[in-house]
């Protein structure tokens, strides 16, 4: 043992060795005793060993006991040390309430923003769709030669279902609004008609009743429906005896046969399900009905089948159909895209950008808190030095300081969780930004774990450098130089570096937000092609039960417009099958009489709208050439049409369409050209549209525009009461000012822009606080030096200039790095920008100006303080 024994303690106790020592001591003592009684040494040892009995068993037992005790002891020691550290940290933090409050608030904002955005990303992008084997579900679409995708027609659905080999199963659904009667005011609900086996395919769960039977898809049987949980609760108060009751849907009785479990539905908007009725169109062997496309088709890929194989499979089905039915399917094929992509593909990039942005904000928050800790470290030099002198090792001190920063970050995380809870609840309530699946957002176990992880990581990130800095060797110097601080030049450099990094990160966010802001401004500058002021619109649905014939539909439309025109304050009323910004309306195949057929890759379809006379005037669109519709363009008059400018450019390049004849199911004479209006949103250019008189092509869906001088609220009430008088079974839908169509069309870009702007503003504020903190601290540190300078004749403006100059230097360095990083990262925003390049001098210039202004402002207070110091007082004191 010798020299080693001294060091044994360093490596902790060694139970085996100790037990061996102890047992051999016993044997030796016994041997010696027997020897004194006259035994020979060999005999004595033999007897001693015999008396002892088994050596191995007690030895093993003792070692096991000691090791167990050692482990327990070590654990208890660690726990008690941790408890001590935490208690000490809490006491220390409580003694510096301002510091603690600022640090916790900063962290709460950073962690809260991260938790909120992560919970959205988690629910929308990460969490599996709530369907059986959701990752293998693909939406199948009809693909035209120009690459555009459409739903499937019933016969095409039957063909794909029968012939696609790489899909286990294929189902179809058709959803749309229907009017529910017999329950007070008529109301519009969303019904989904689904193909046979749909419930099993998706894995819908039932709380009551059963799925549809195969026979219930045959036309002519009595109708049945399954309710979603939400509809059941909302409309029927969750009545348990609902199965067997009858609902009146547009005059047809539907027997309720089941209720779905909560959250078990293919889309949250759906209120009830009904069987898709397999009429004569659902026939894979005929050409009839192949180009009437309205079925959303979903297929489940066989396990292990790659996307390319699915595509190839569907192309094969497409070309077989093209060969068999050249007239209807000659130029078409089918394609597939993962269902998740279809549902959330649009918001993936914006959400990931936001996630990155909040990550940046948290980094800035970390830098700020690290700076606070560094500043505090100098104030605590004395305390740390005393503890070091009393024998606390550097590891022990670092552990203590890291415990303190972890306690801070956990407090921040807890507060952040509250903020995130509040923010996500508000987000879900407001349905802001039209984000798909947003109703699933919430703080679940995964999100809580993520928050805990973020908090712990945050504590390490902002705590490590200050802890190492504060405890670095040479600490005892501090005992002698109390207050002057070890945090000298190296500390100053570190803090400046943190500030530069903060500013750079803030610049990246500002540039991103600036680009989105510019892009959004461009979006709102786009002329919608119609006037939104002082106009309301609403939608009605004329049910086949009540309006079986076209004549009745047209007569009602006439009567409705005439009644509304008589309302006081109303200046104009018109109606159409579809309004601007409600999406591209129904597409039908189109041809110009006497013109050669278009090339194969041009989609020979046009969006058709039926409008009443005066529609364009009421809306504020312009007749570019030719004439408007008149009261004389009725059923018995020659069929006439107007084409929009986009249509004129596409189908009559360099020609005047007025007077030409076109085919869109029927033959029309083009009598005029009308200016373009926005259809999808301001970022999507107008497509070709053909307008025909409502009296020559009526639709059961009617959207009405009412232009008036009155207050919108009064007008809305008047419109409702007018409709009740005309038909008390008719539901009024989407009654709102026309502006709402515009604002809703840019809701998503506005939402992302607003959030990124919010985060960028937060980042800028944090960076400004950081600059202020560092400069303020350095003024305190340099008080003596500054006083000497002033005593030697430096004037206040010079001192102010010195401080401000330093802040401008920091800002300049941060700006340069930040702009470079923003340019490098700009690509991720490209898909979100409208008419703004990633390198936008205006944005960069504005960001530079704002940043410099804020930084100079942040340095102003410390500079004033420095200039106001009384040199005499300082030097004498």
């Amino acid at each position: 043992m010798g020299g080693w024994a001294r060091f044994r303690g360093l490596f902790g106790p060694d139970p085996e060795r100790d037990v061996d020592d102890e047992l051999s001591f016993h044997i030796e003592m016994r041997t010696r005793e027997l020897e004194t009684r006259g035994e020979s040494p060999e005999r004595a040892r033999e007897l001693a060993l015999a008396r002892f009995g088994s050596l191995e068993r007690p030895r093993a037992e003792c070692v096991a006991i000691d090791e167990r005790r050692g482990r327990r002891h070590a654990r208890a020691e660690t726990m008690s040390e941790l408890r001590q550290d935490v208690a000490f940290a809490l006491r220390t933090l409580a003694r510096a309430p301002v510091f603690t409050l600022v640090a916790v608030a900063t962290l709460a904002l950073g962690i809260g923003a991260n938790t909120a955005i992560f919970s959205v990303v988690h629910a929308v992008l990460l969490e599996a769709l709530p369907f059986r084997d959701a990752d293998r579900l693909h939406e199948i679409s009809t693909v035209y030669p120009d690459g555009t995708s459409y739903p499937l027609s019933p016969p095409d659905f039957m063909s794909v279902q029968a012939d696609a080999r790489h899909f286990e199963d294929v189902v179809a659904l058709r959803d749309g609004p229907v009017t529910l009667l017999g329950r007070g005011d008529p109301q519009e609900v969303v019904a989904a008609q689904v193909s046979a086996g749909f419930a099993e395919f998706v894995g819908l769960r039932f709380v009551l009743g059963r799925p549809f039977a195969r026979a219930e898809h045959d036309p002519g049987r009595h109708r049945v429906a399954v309710l979603t949980h939400g509809f059941w609760q909302r409309e029927l108060g969750g009545a348990r005896d609902v199965v067997g009751r009858t609902l009146d849907i547009e005059g047809d009785p539907y027997e309720v046969i089941g209720v779905l479990a909560e959250g078990s539905t293919i889309a949250p908007a759906i209120d009830l399900y009904a069987p898709l009725l397999y009429d004569e169109r659902y026939d894979a062997t005929t050409a009839r009905g192949r180009r009437g496309e309205f079925l959303t088709v979903i297929g489940r890929a066989r396990p292990g089948v790659a996307a390319e194989q699915l595509e190839a499979d569907l192309r094969r089905v497409g070309s077989e159909l093209a060969a068999r039915f050249p007239d209807t399917n000659g130029r078409l094929t089918f394609g597939a895209a993962p269902l998740r992509e279809r549902l959330v593909g649009d918001v993936r990039t914006p959400l990931l950008v936001l996630l990155g942005a909040v990550g940046f904000v948290l980094l800035i928050a970390c830098a700020n808190v690290a700076n606070l800790l560094l500043a505090r470290a100098s104030a605590r030099q004395g305390e740390l030095a005393v503890r070091a002198a009393l024998g606390a090792g550097r590891g022990r001190l670092v552990r203590q300081l890291l415990t303190e920063s972890t306690v801070l970050s956990l407090l921040g995380g807890a507060a952040g969780l509250l903020l995130a809870h509040w923010a996500t609840a508000a987000l879900v309530r407001a349905q802001a930004g039209n984000i798909p699946r947003v109703e699933e957002v919430g703080l679940d176990g995964t999100v809580l774990l993520a928050t805990l992880a973020i908090s712990l990581l945050t504590g390490l990130v902002f705590g490590t450098v200050p802890a190492l800095q504060a405890t670095r060797p040479g600490l005892t110097l501090a005992l002698r130089e109390e207050g002057r601080g070890v945090v000298g030049r190296a500390g100053q450099r570190l803090r400046s570096g943190l500030i530069v990094a903060e500013i750079a990160v803030a610049v990246v966010l500002l540039v991103g937000a600036g680009l989105l802001l510019r892009s959004f401004a461009e979006l709102t500058r786009v002329d919608p092609g119609f006037r939104t002021e002082q106009a309301l619109s609403f939608r009605i649905q004329m049910t086949p039960a009540r309006y079986p014939e076209g004549e009745q539909v047209r007569a009602f439309a006439d009567r409705l417009i005439a009644q509304l025109e008589r309302l006081p304050g109303v200046t104009a009323v018109a109606a159409a099958s579809s309004l601007p910004l409600t999406g591209v309306s129904s597409l039908i195949s189109f041809a110009v009489t006497g013109a050669p057929p278009p090339p194969d890759d041009v989609n020979a379809e046009i969006s058709i709208l039926s409008v009443t006379p005066g529609y364009f005037g009421t809306l504020g669109a312009r007749i570019a050439s030719g004439r408007d519709f008149t009261e004389h363009d009725r059923g018995d008059a020659p069929l006439v049409a107007l084409i929009n400018e986009a249509g004129a450019r596409k189908w009559f390049p360099g020609e005047n369409p007025v007077g030409r004849r076109v085919t869109a199911v029927n033959d029309y004479e083009v009598v005029g050209v009308v200016s373009d209006v926005l259809q999808e949103n301001p970022g999507t250019p107008a497509v070709a549209e053909l307008y025909v008189p409502y009296q020559q092509r009526s639709t059961r869906t009617l959207r009405v525009v009412v232009r008036s001088r009155g207050a919108p609220a009064t007008m809305m009430a008047a419109i409702r009461s007018e409709l009740r008088q005309l038909d008390e079974t008719m539901a009024v839908r989407d009654l709102a000012p026309l502006e709402q169509l515009v604002s809703r069309s840019v809701a998503q870009p506005r939402f992302f822009m607003a959030l990124l702007a919010l985060f960028a503003a937060g980042a800028l504020l944090l960076a400004a606080i950081g600059v202020f903190g560092v400069l303020n601290y350095s003024v305190t540190q340099r008080a003596r030096e500054l006083s000497i300078r002033m005593a030697l004749g430096a004037r206040a403006p010079q001192v102010v200039g010195m401080i401000v100059r330093r802040s401008v230097l920091l800002a300049g360095a941060g700006l340069a790095i930040g702009v470079a990083a923003a340019l490098a990262l700009g690509g991720v925003l490209r898909s979100q920008l409208f008419q703004v390049g990633v390198v936008d001098p205006l944005t960069l210039g504005a960001v530079a100006l704002v940043l410099l202004a804020v930084v100079v402002l942040a340095s102003w207070l410390p500079a004033r303080r420095a200039a106001a110091m009384d040199p005499g007082l300082m030097l004498r004191g």
Binding site: D18, V19, D21, E22, L23, F25, H26, E28, M29, R30, R32, A50, R51, F52, G53, S54, L55, R57, P58, R59, E61, C62, I65, D66, R68, R69
Partner: protein, 113 residues
Amino acid sequence: MATTDQDILRGTLDLLVLKALSWGASHGYDVARWIEFATDDALAVGEGTLYPALHRLEERGWVSARWGVSENNRRAKFYALTARGRAQLRVETESWTRYARAVFAALRAPALP
């Protein structure tokens, strides 16, 4: 007969060790010698079992141990009763006494009248 006595005593090894240490700290060998002297050599074969007992008592906190130097200048582990160990010894002594008295009384009792 002697074997039975030893079996009973061995079952109360913990108590014997506590008693052995009640006169002051000592190492394992001295504890063994006291038990040899006090019990007519109950541990004659298998002194080794004494050590797990000592370590167990240490784990329970009835006995504390520290390394010291023996009379003959050897490194040896010394055990001493802790306050809790002393209390335990009192409790066990009482209960053993009560038990032994009861058994003794029963053995001397006459047949039912």
